[in-house]
């Protein structure tokens, strides 16, 4: 039941849950989280009820991602049309090498397969890097942090029954920027961070969720994505040019017997021609668009929403731009590569099983041991460890630690079907209230001859309506979320 537009409804979208109301996180109800202890050695038996070996953090990751190779590879839950993208690239390139290269090597130069091969390898590698890299996922707030934030919000003096609006204003380079509170991740989102509904994660410098690549595009993989589309433009244009040359040359070589004859001789070229003709425009357009974004240090998200275009008449400028095209390009594409913050392969701390077991709030012995380990352990231990709470603070808003913490343990949170279990047991559809403002623009490349902006085909920014045939199961729920979006859109 969507709330009326214009009301502030920071409650969570949890139709499956009975107690669906604003609840402050009670710090007293929280178990004592400990600072990050290092992982115990696998044979360590000094733990309560440890039926299985030490688990890695990716196994209890709350977002909708899937992990392979023991956490080394991360993909979004829905791979979108990534297989199609890969398939098209492989098929087109394969046909090129089989049908066109021999002719062109004979009649022109042998550089052609070399260039084509180099471009092809480049494209595939950057595509895989874009798809399989953590885009800059922010781990969710620990219960302590969330409680601290709630306390601060409530201390702003709100006495009415309605919960306070969950935005915070900061001044960035003399520009006022509103930070929104993410109900799923329980934190105020840093600037330029958005929550992706498909992946159920907050992603830093969120650009868009690309179904063609099957992953979000964010801070950590934007440069891979940009390199991918630029090199794909080159590859597509190159193949198109080569095929045209091949057909033209063969037509003349045959004494002008006609294009049809040439196509009959080389049917693969016909397929390539069709694919390249339709994709070159959209991919070139997309590359051009992203080149513009890179040069102005904008994200697709900001451009779509017009955050810095001053549409409301105020004098707004992009506070993140360096005001110099060259510096903008360098900082976006050649800047330092931040590491992944979610530490997928780290081990869960020893007291994880203890926390899942019962409601014991205080465990001084275990806690102190952990702290000692923190002090004595080397940097490796400090870096590799993170506490349980960031991973287990899923979308269960109630102050009931046991149920909250057991949710991911039930879940094959990483396998093919996590969401039904999580939805029913944890009411994991809390991303709704955060959507209206994220308006995850899904970049859907169409393969028809359209203008550059139309090629992006961003749906109504306030509603998370799926436009590409990638997320059928997200459809109904996202429509429901769209109503929440309206109420938040009105906040702007």
């Amino acid at each position: 039941m969507p709330p009326p537009v214009g009301t502030v409804q920071p409650k969570l979208q949890c139709e499956t849950m009975k107690t669906c109301e604003y609840q402050q996180i009670d710090p007293r109800a929280l178990p004592t989280p400990t600072p990050a202890p290092p992982p115990p050695p696998p044979g360590h038996s000094d733990q309560r009820e440890e039926p299985r070996g030490p688990r890695r953090k990716w196994q209890v990751f709350p977002g909708k991602n899937r992990f392979y190779c023991d956490g080394r590879i991360i993909v979004a839950r829905q791979s979108g049309v990534l297989p199609l993208t890969l398939g098209l690239i492989l098929i087109t390139s394969g046909l090129f090498f089989i049908f066109d290269c021999p002719f062109l090597v004979k009649h022109l130069t042998s550089c052609i397969p070399v260039i084509g091969g180099g471009l092809f390898v480049f494209v595939v590698i950057t595509l895989l890097q874009t798809s399989l890299t953590d885009p800059g996922i922010l781990p969710r707030a620990t219960p302590d942090e969330a409680a601290d934030i709630e306390k601060q919000i409530d201390n702003t003096g709100n006495t009415s029954y309605r919960p306070p609006p969950r935005t915070k204003e900061v001044l960035i380079n003399q520009q006022v920027v509103k930070l929104k509170y993410c109900f799923t991740c329980k934190m105020f989102r840093p600037p330029r961070t958005s929550h992706c509904s498909l992946c159920d994660n907050c992603v830093e410098r969120f650009d868009h969720h690309c179904p063609w690549v099957g992953n979000c595009v964010g801070k950590r993989n934007y440069r891979f994505f940009y390199t991918f589309i630029v090199s794909l433009s080159f590859l597509t244009a190159f193949i198109f040019g080569c095929v045209t040359t091949h057909l033209a040359l063969s037509k003349w070589a045959q004494g002008g017997k006609g294009l049809v004859f040439a196509l009959q001789e080389s049917p693969g070229s016909a397929v390539e021609l069709v694919i390249c003709f339709f994709s070159v425009w959209s991919i070139l357009g997309l590359s051009g668009f992203h080149t513009y974004l890179v040069a102005s240090n904008l994200t697709t998200n900001e451009d779509i929403k017009g955050s810095w275009s001053g549409k409301s008449g105020e004098d707004v400028t992009n506070p993140y731009s360096h005001k110099n095209i060259f510096i903008n390009c360098c900082s976006v594409l050649c800047g330092p590569m931040p590491p992944s913050l979610i530490d997928r392969r780290g081990f869960l701390p020893a007291d994880e099983s203890v926390q899942t077991a019962g409601v014991d709030i205080e465990l001084p012995t275990l806690a102190t041991k952990s702290e000692i380990n923190v002090c004595t352990q080397g940097t490796k231990g400090l870096l590799e460890s993170a506490t349980l709470p960031p991973l287990l603070s899923t979308s269960c808003p109630q102050g009931k630690p046991p149920s909250a913490y057991t949710c991911p343990d039930n879940g094959p949170a990483v396998n093919s079907d996590p969401s039904p279990e999580l939805s029913t047991s944890c009411g994991a559809r809390h991303t709704a209230s955060t959507h209206g403002d994220t308006s995850t623009p899904r970049h859907s490349k169409t393969r028809s001859k359209k203008s550059k902006r139309a090629a992006l085909h961003i749906p109504n920014p306030s509603f998370d309506v799926p436009v590409s045939p990638t997320s059928p199961d997200a459809g109904p729920s996202s429509e429901a979320r769209g109503h929440e979006g309206a109420s938040f859109a009105s906040l702007h």
Partner: protein, 159 residues
């Protein structure tokens, strides 16, 4: 250092976590990682203001160094692009090197300054670079209340 540690161990065994104080991010200069230099009031009687401010300032300078865009980062970026970014899988980036330095620094600060005062810093990288978490432990001399009641009394008191 060994004697300090022994004292610390004893303190730990009888002390328990009272509360956690969070130093939030400062976004006034954009999205670069920077923490606010605002001294939390909960630590008023636990540590000198200047010590914490010095720690935060040093951490901020480390992060500036990690995220600096200049000659070396451009070189790294261009080289990476030329190799289709495979080099990121093989080599450690500058950012990661600086993060290691930071965690060493935090450990050193914990040992020297914070642990003797019953405090503990958590490396921000373990909290997704959102906050600098300072765990406050019950001071042995401050009272003999049981851990759970001290926790509830802290939770109940308004800040």
């Amino acid at each position: 250092m060994a004697t300090e540690f022994h004292n610390l161990q004893e303190l730990r065994q009888s002390a328990s976590l009272v509360t956690k104080v969070f130093v939030q991010r400062d976004y006034s200069e954009g999205t670069i990682c920077r923490f606010q230099n605002k001294f939390p009031s909960e630590l008023d009687n636990r540590i000198e203001r200047t010590l914490l401010e010095e720690t935060v300032k040093t951490l901020n300078s480390y992060y500036v160094e990690a995220e600096k865009i200049g000659g070396q980062s451009y070189l790294e970026g261009c080289l990476a692009c030329a190799t289709a970014y495979i080099v990121f899988l093989c080599l450690e980036t500058r950012y990661e090197k600086v993060l290691k330095k930071i965690s060493g620094y935090i450990q050193e600060q914990n040992e020297k300054i914070y642990a003797p005062r019953g405090l503990l810093l958590t490396d921000p990288v373990e909290r997704g670079m959102r906050v600098l978490e300072i765990s406050v432990f019950e001071d042995r001399g401050s009272g003999s209340s049981s851990p759970s009641s001290s926790m509830s009394s802290t939770g109940g008191s308004a800040r």
